[in-house]
Symmetry: C2
């Protein structure tokens, strides 16, 4: 089979017109907004034209179903409040194009609220049973609007629950939300895992004091504890991590945060991600031990907040093999295996069936911004790899 690159790119650009930001390629198409609902209406027509049976569940997840047991392709068509035109949309339109040309049964999905107006990947979380509809309905957006109210905007399109048993597996094509492929000059990332995440607040409490009259050796300076913790942690983690592991101190709050006062308290966020749950645990041990050591050596108190986390999800071996073989066929030598450091609907869908993911490069690694973009040649390679992966599975 052969995809129609021009039709595919035109569809992608037409979807962009729903909520077009008027600023470059950007879109403003949050879940359940007028632009999102209109886009779902347009997608439903495209699915029907492709010979698929259109169904929508109560969350607004939109499916174009093949008549028989099929492979499910897709992603999401909602956007960040200020989003790129490809994040989610690419995977949906590529799925539509593959469904049109495939000799094997292919179904298409656009999940709802992947971008988290009401939570995190809310639409696929409810479909997968990770989150109950009742629980989800209580969630509120930043304006205090409940999900139960917001989803009335798609009520007229709802047909009922969609049974996951009709799908053999799920493949999601997505723009890489990072710079790896762009910097390496490769066209395809065959995802190995969606990494797990751990996140907790850490607090050092020392002694607030006068920055002029408190000698250095008598200080219990919470910022100094934080800086030393950071440097010691970086050294110690090197023995444990892989090149794909990441860790971040993104939030820091000193008290009282004044130039003439030795800070008595530092509260900061400690976040780390890896594809291996065991490694996440080993990192946690090092983080806690290092913080406790630094605090004890300086006569300080260390506190650890609630530990938040999501488990890593490994891609299915068979689907991944189909993707990798397809990548080597379509763009020989110009693809790589890589983990996904960002969350995707595939994490939820993995509870129901085998999943795999395919990445295309993001120019400059830009994500969640109007400037997000991918060269058209790479977009076309992306849809071709997706189509070839279906062939390889067939």
């Amino acid at each position: 089979m052969s995809v129609d690159a021009v039709r595919f790119l035109n569809d992608l650009k037409e979807l962009r017109s729903f909520g077009a930001a008027g600023s470059g390629n950007g879109v403003v198409r949050p879940a359940y907004s007028d632009a999102d609902v209109a886009a779902r209406g347009w997608l439903a027509e495209r699915m029907q034209d492709a010979g698929l049976r259109v169904e929508m569940d109560a969350m607004g997840n939109l499916f174009g179903l093949a008549d028989e047991t099929s492979i499910l392709l897709g992603s999401h068509s909602d956007s960040q409040p200020e989003g790129g035109w490809l994040d989610g949309a690419l995977g949906v339109i590529a799925a539509l194009e593959v469904a049109r040309v495939s000799q094997w049964p292919v179904s298409v999905v656009s999940f709802q609220d992947e971008e988290g107006r009401f939570g995190v990947t809310t639409g696929s979380a409810v479909w997968s049973g990770h989150l109950s509809q009742d629980h989800a309905d209580e969630l509120k957006d930043h304006d205090g609007i409940r999900l139960s109210e917001a989803r009335q905007a798609v009520a007229s399109m709802v047909t009922g629950p969609i049974n996951p048993k009709q799908f053999q597996g799920f493949i999601e094509l997505h723009i890489e939300q990072g710079p790896t492929l762009d910097q390496s000059g490769e066209q395809i990332g065959a995802v190995t895992d969606i990494v797990g995440i751990r996140d907790m607040k850490v607090t050092f409490e020392g002694q607030q004091n006068h920055a002029g009259t408190t000698p250095m050796h008598l200080r219990r300076d919470a910022f100094q504890a934080l800086a030393t913790f950071n440097q010691t942690l970086n050294e110690r983690l090197r023995n444990v991590v892989t090149p794909q592991t990441v860790w971040t101190l993104g939030h820091v709050s000193l008290h009282p945060n004044a130039s003439s006062i030795v800070p008595g308290k530092a509260v900061f966020s400690m976040q780390w991600r890896d594809a291996d749950a065991g490694r996440l645990g080993r990192m946690e041990k090092i983080i806690r031990e290092t913080a406790e050591e630094i605090a004890a050596a300086r006569g300080m108190v260390v506190g650890f907040g609630q530990m938040l986390g999501l488990e890593p999800v490994a891609m299915d071996t068979t689907l991944r093999q189909a993707v990798e073989t397809a990548a080597e066929t379509v763009t020989p030598g110009k693809w790589r295996q890589m983990p996904s450091g960002a969350l995707h609907d595939a994490t939820n869908v993995a509870r129901l069936m085998p999943v795999a993911m395919v990445f295309v490069p993001s120019i400059g690694g830009i994500s969640h911004a109007f400037e997000e973009d991918t060269h058209e040649a790479d977009l076309v390679v992306g849809v071709e790899v997706l189509a070839q992966a279906v062939v390889n599975l067939g």
Copy 2:
């Protein structure tokens, strides 16, 4: 001569009753408040009883003048919005007691607004000519009240300008606003210098990015730059500083300060203090060079804000000698030379005449808080050293 310890302590306690906070020993006696004006009225009477001629300048600096050329003793009687009972008050009441018993001419001063309701040591700054009255009058407090309005509260007491030429020198007794004497068990600090201060904002600008998808080696993380800068700076300053030098990063602001985002920007305060202007300059060079090096190595931009500063003031050799000899006489072996890391009226007065300072211990090093206190025995040693210093100069 011999001071009357009971009378001295009683006066000190009576002054505390003006603005007594009802919380331990604390006082609420900001410049020009009702409590401050009442305290100045009470002080004026005590000065008169001591045989001094009472005068007040337009700022509200209150003088009790000897008839002939004299040594000036004193400090300030205004307080922080939530102040200790000794900060300033001790030096004024001790001066009053010494004036009563001294065979040599002694004048007494209580400067106004040392605690900076309108600025920094505003009363002595205007008296010393460091700040013009017109300029000072435009200053506003946190409630938007102008100094020109506020000082109307003392207008009825104003007699006119006080000529500094009648004073041979100035000695200020003050509670140490730090833990050095308390921790060493010594009773007196003979101040060598009031340290100079340098303060500037520094900014590292890197690249804000996704904390999941940006590999560690591609990050330009502003917090990491800050932490590395701090550790490198600490190492490098060790070759330049004395045990009295202090430096502080008290304020840190990350952008966007979110746990899932690699911080693109860090703005922080860099403050350092030392008694030697040359050393302050060498430290500045190291600070700037280190920040530039770290930024260059990480592909970042470093920015330096406006450099704020006050020059160090060395105490006068003769006055200092008189204080040190007095300390050795009154409390042999239980005193030390030390710099003042905090600012005092003496910094301004040094523009007009030779100055020296004497410290007594602060229990636990507490300052600018209701809990501030000093053992009575140490208060008495303080006034005795002040009296003996006058004898030594006589």
